[in-house]
Amino acid sequence: MNRINIRRVLLLVIMIMLLDPFFPIIKARVAYESYTYNYWLDPVPSPHPYVPVEELSGELLGVGDFDTPSDLFVAHNGFIYIADTNNNRIVWFDQSFNFINELQTFGDNDSFNAPQGVYVTEDNHIYVADTENRRIVQFDQHADYVRSFDRPVTDLISDTTSFRPTKVVVDGADRIYALAIGINSGIVEINPDGTFQGFMGASEVNITPLEYVWRRFIATDEQRQRMGLILPTEYNNLYLDNEEFIFVTRGSVGLSDYGTDVIRRLNPTGVNVLRQFGYGDPIGDYFSRRNPNITRFNDITVTDYQVYTALDGSNGKLFAYDYDGHLLYVFGGNGNRFGNFRSAVAVDQYEEMLYVLDDNKNTITTFSMTDYGEMVHSAIRLHYEGRYQEVEQRWKEVLKLNANADIAYIGLGKAQLRRGEYQEAMQNLELAHDRNNYTKAFAHYRREWMIEHFTVIMTTTVILILLLLFINYVRKLRKRWLVKEVKR
């Protein structure tokens, strides 16, 4: 009996070993690491929020290979528009990447010259930043040529500077906001009738006091001539969010600019209104000696509930933040494996899909949200929509998957604070180092505690006072008695 059993087991083991190559265990190996930063700005591993699904080349999509494409835009209906720069065309696909149409020639045998940006409005008008033709071209919903906007007529741009637009967005009132090469006074704002409105949200010049003194007072004229001009950093990309505020990224930042704001949310008057309440400001990776490559964002995309995902082109990473500036997760990486980038240039998202365009691989990498990413996003969306009851459950689910998710502790703590469970709120907020909300919870808790234990506290105090008075009295008596003794 025993013997047979052993034989059977052996046989089974051998069979499994032989058959193993035919039934490979599918492991969700992803070619990058996902992480987030804790209160001390140390990186902490996190579950993958997105996993790569496909890498799509132009050939695979049946439109011929892309050549250094520079922009990818997802319209409100989920159509994906690609500015295929060196092929001088705009191509678009539907959500499942079926080819829809392309724009190469239009009007009177007109064509693009290295277009770098594309934008599609609510009513499907296509705007193309036709960079080397120095104009912005508008097409209607049937992809028919409507008009083009040339160099804005203004004295504010010097005559030597040509107008070479790279990125463009159009707001609900048909005003055009464009970024152009060499124009560092901000976003060029063009009225619907084609007249120049002005610049918006200029990035200020950064100069250290020491450098100022050196340049202004100490350097000789000769030295000064050899120095480069200090110019404000240009924005390299922009995104119009659901509230018609413009998110911009500043990419060409050097190591000396580390820590300056590289993501801005400009209100209609051009003031930066980005909320920064996270552990660190939303500047990408926090500097460490192990990783001296600082983050250089080159594109950004924003959901309807103000979660923004910025693409770090130089390191191939994606950083997602919520509306308060809390870092949600970081994922992605450069490399040659499936799901890695070589030179990521554009990012956009539609529902649970995220698309990244690579101008070196000439591919679109599609990512789909994992359960973890889905939970985090839905929790933030519910909070944004004010449905606080459901939020708590979501954050608990997030914590089941990732006990290091500080954002979940904050969310949970806030929900409990709202519901009046102060002690639990304090615990969660302490875990997440959220002192602002902790002190609110604590103030409530202390008040409740005082009310609850009022009788005990008062009784003890009264008894203590009486006791002290009594001791004093006894002492006095004793003294008097001693004095009498002495007199005697």
Partner: protein, 208 residues
């Protein structure tokens, strides 16, 4: 012979009446080295307790990385540096205090740190961030008080005028910096030498 407790209790007199206090500490022997050492130890303990046990709202330290040796050094090193620099300078500049007297006086001057910071630890659990102004107020008071006492201790121990005291203190601070610099230089050189011989040793080991 005074009792140990009386010597320790004398620090309470020193902090409120520094002029009398430091004078008697030195000339009347009302304090002692053992009490001074106790106060220094208490200061070290206060610093460690403050780091470890201050309530969450006021504790910005990463407790998991608390290194007790570093904490001890961070109190003891400046203290000893001060005493040594003080002694070095004042012996040259007609100071009257001996090293032990300087040590005693400086140690007694640290009393406010212990007196105020220790009670602040439990209090930090009872107050909110809005009331934190009081917490930081008392923290600052303890530091200012201590600094004043240290200045007075130098003045009285060496029988200096106010002007000379401040000059000396500037000198002491520079002296401390110089000592730190020489210390770092020395360790760095030692490390280099050690590294050099280690490399030679490895070379020999590899060859034979």
């Amino acid at each position: 012979m005074r009792s140990y407790l009386a010597e320790l209790k004398y620090s309470l007199h020193v902090v409120v009446r520094p002029f009398d206090g430091f004078w008697d500490l030195q000339r009347e022997q009302r304090g002692s080295l053992r009490a001074a050492l106790t106060i220094v130890l208490l200061t070290i303990a206060t610093y460690i307790f403050r780091r470890q046990y201050t309530g969450f709202l006021f504790n910005y330290n990463q407790i998991t990385r608390l290194n007790i040796v570093l904490e001890v050094i961070s109190v003891l090193l400046p203290f000893l540096l001060w005493c040594v620099a003080n002694w070095c300078l004042t012996t040259l500049a007609d100071g009257e205090g001996t090293f032990i007297e300087i040590f005693n006086a400086t140690a007694y001057a640290l009393t406010p740190i212990v007196l105020i910071n220790l009670p602040l630890i439990p209090i930090s659990y009872l107050i909110t961030s809005e009331e934190g102004a009081f917490y930081y107020f008392f923290l600052t008071i303890s530091l200012i008080w201590t600094v004043c006492l240290i200045i007075l201790s130098t003045m009285i121990t060496h029988q200096y005028s106010m002007k000379k005291t401040f000059l000396t203190i500037t000198g002491i601070l520079i002296g401390m910096a110089v000592m730190v610099f020489i210390g770092l230089l020395f360790t760095s050189v030692i490390q280099q030498i050690f590294g050099f011989f280690y490399v030679i040793y490895r070379e020999i080991v590899f060859r034979f």
